[in-house]
Symmetry: C2
Subunit: 454 residues, 2 copies
């Protein structure tokens, strides 16, 4: 059975709908009304209307076809509801409700598993926050938008075994202006697991990079086999948690999943062409870099209007075993002829604190054309008043004109963040520290090597 109805249903039924603003069954309907264009059928035993929508006492009372059911009722009632869904020929179901194997209740999970097989259904969950699809507007996340702004549309899809980690990360990246394509919280994985979703996303044209937060994988061999194939098409960036003994117990009790040994996973990831991260905030830092073309090799150019930043970035290039590019003499000469004497025209290239957008434009035009340079990191201090915000136009124009990876680093507060968001939206990844930008470039080189090694 296809997973497509999870992401592109024409109609959704919310079983356990509510008029109580604090209930998940209210928040989900409120969020669906906002962004989802299809039909919404709230199910509640007594209510006639919820948020202006006609309410039904069972899915079987709905005459129209239902593509996707979202269940938010108590665990013990779920098996019966699944039976009703089967009568209504609903094939795709998300069980938001917790209270299953993660709390010791394996019985109800077993019953549901049998029903799935019998009725050829696909189920995400239970114990999940479900799905957020920025294109179709499917949004089962029960956090209200006043607390958790949804990300705009982007090319990254994100699979998270943990709902909490997934939601908080989405909220953070939305704030940074990073787009998302699809988000899937796996929960207890009684049916749909990371392998199913990775397979689906590999064929999804809107997804160009896959992020995976995983605590435990049940079918290791299949996972490696699939990821080996998919990582040749799209980068897969993963964080594995549950490396210590203590964590294993914690995972057992929160998603009912068995966590495996760190080294085994790292080995499997490497074998599968997966990019493993060490820290959670690297997931999106790395994934968003793939908005850019891959570098031909590892020779990097650092361009800045703040000397100290140039130094920090250069150290980081060294630490990451990348190479500081040596531009052609003619490139240096061309740039020098148009810059004030006090600018430092080498690599790192320091256009000095009083640099304006024009200086950046001259430097970038020349550096982009130089075949000794495989990628450019531009570090910009937006705080300085001599630099007008039209530097953003310069960057976007240069980015369109040349097929060479361009990463930006801008560190700062509200004013800086405003322009960070514009760059992100237009496919120019933007980092809050030089170290992060350099690490991202390293990962681009790493992925390029993965593609060549296979």
């Amino acid at each position: 059975m296809s997973l497509n109805n999870f992401f592109n249903p024409k109609s959704i039924s919310v079983i356990g709908a509510s008029k109580n603003k604090k209930k998940f069954g209210y928040v989900i309907i409120e969020n669906l009304i906002r962004e989802f264009n299809g039909k919404i059928y709230p199910i509640h035993l007594k209510e006639k209307k919820i948020l202006g929508l006609d309410c039904y006492s069972s899915v079987t009372d709905v005459k129209e076809k239902i593509d996707l059911a979202i269940i938010v009722i108590s665990a013990n009632m779920v098996p019966n509801i699944i039976k009703e869904c089967s009568k209504k020929h609903i094939k795709n179901i998300i069980i938001i409700s917790g209270g299953f194997s993660e709390t010791g209740n394996k019985k109800d999970e077993q019953v549901i598993k049998k029903l799935i097989k019998k009725n050829n259904m696909r189920i995400i969950g239970p114990n999940t926050i479900g799905i957020y699809d920025s294109c179709s507007g499917v949004d089962t996340i029960f956090d209200p938008v006043c607390r958790f702004k949804r990300p705009t549309t982007g090319f990254i899809s994100f699979i998270s075994q943990s709902g909490a980690f997934g939601a908080a990360t989405l909220d953070l990246v939305a704030f940074q202006g990073i787009g998302i394509n699809k988000f899937i919280s796996l929960g207890n994985k009684i049916d749909v697991d990371e392998i199913d979703i990775i397979k689906y996303l590999s064929k999804d044209k809107k997804t160009k990079a896959i992020i995976l937060y995983i605590e435990g994988i049940d079918n290791g061999r299949e996972f490696i086999k699939i990821c080996k194939k998919v990582s040749k098409k799209k980068p897969i960036i993963a964080l594995k948690s549950g490396k210590s003994k203590k964590t294993k117990n914690a995972i057992m009790s929160h998603t009912g999943s068995l966590a495996g040994h760190a080294k085994i996973y790292s080995g499997a990831f490497k074998q599968s062409g997966i990019i493993e991260v060490e820290e959670s905030d690297q997931l999106f830092d790395f994934a968003k870099a793939f908005a850019q073309p891959l570098p031909k090799s590892n020779r990097i150019m650092i361009l800045t209007n703040g000397g100290g930043f140039g130094c920090i970035a250069t150290d980081e290039v060294d630490k990451n075993k990348l190479v500081m590019a040596s531009p052609y003499e003619s490139t240096i000469k061309n740039i020098k002829s148009k810059m004030p004497d006090y600018a430092t025209i080498s690599n790192p290239m320091d256009l000095i604190g009083d640099a304006d957008s024009e200086r950046y434009e001259i430097a970038l035009e020349n550096l982009m054309k130089d075949n000794n340079i495989d990628g450019i990191i531009v570090i910009i201090l937006m705080q300085i008043s001599t630099l007008y915000p039209n530097i953003i136009d310069v960057l976007l124009d240069i980015n369109k004109k040349f097929k060479k990876p361009l990463l930006v680093c801008m560190m700062g507060g509200k004013f800086t963040l405003r322009y960070t968001k514009i760059l992100e939206k237009n496919g120019v990844p933007c980092y809050s520290s030089p170290e992060k930008a350099v690490s991202a470039f390293k990962i681009m080189v790493y992925y390029k090597n993965i593609l060549e090694d296979f």
Copy 2:
């Protein structure tokens, strides 16, 4: 000569004042008017008034005493201006202007050095953005506040050899709600250097932690000697840049300073009791932790309402060779008796997604009293609507009541950031990822050991 007039002058003269909004001489006066309570004397050859202030053609025309002079005129004119300052008995001078040894102009620097000695002056710079003192309102940073919001008052003082890195970092931490006490950009260091400032800050009661961004140190022995003393009183957290050969050239051309070998510096830092960071964003992540009391040992408790976060934090505790605390059986029993069955009452402790402030309060009260626990990291998902913002009151009350380190991790967007700022303002350090919170706790343990080892 004391450095005190740099931070607490009663009167300031700005030499090179301007009516042109784009000029540093305008922005600095505008910023001083906003926050500085003393007298301001703009100096300009022709103007009579600037921003409503009486303007003088020379400092010698000012009748009243001038405690601090800020110079923003061309390098070649600076020596003469210093002579005028000496006539006026101004002992503290900040030379903002660039164009000295960093661009090859050593001559003017030499002249100024001689004048300093002869007249018993103290000079910060040249080629610097100077000082920001959040208490006195001295602010020589020439970036306008619309682009760069100044931080509120805090206990961290920050010495940066690079003005650009300093400014961008301040802007970033201001946005995160982290306070600053004093900021000093050293520039070319022809007189006042990091040693002078560290000595001054060691006696400054408002400064409880010192951050240092350094590219090169000229007097290594003295530096070690002083830092050894000061780090016994206050933590010093440092980032050394200029570790690769390429960086050394870059540093030479942007602050005229010689960068030394990384290992020599790391050794010197260790010997001096300095906490060296690997990445720039760790500087404030670590420093702000010292708002909390030091832990007795390394046994840490993880408390959360998001299982995945508990796992990530536990992995990080393991990775950092800290110890997951084992609470007393009675603690576990007490907490269990007041929690729903599905909560995981161990370490990590998962209060589950529907946890409210009361659940956190019960857990924290019990965990704080437990002598098997040396510190607590509380990870909170503010996105969930069942958790009311009064969780912030719970945290602040608990923090007041107990003398045990409490670090918070909240990941998210605008809504979350609002509460992050309140926590920071009230001395509860708040981190955007579990990894960052655990690393900060590790540094607290590390500093505690430094204090004991000396």
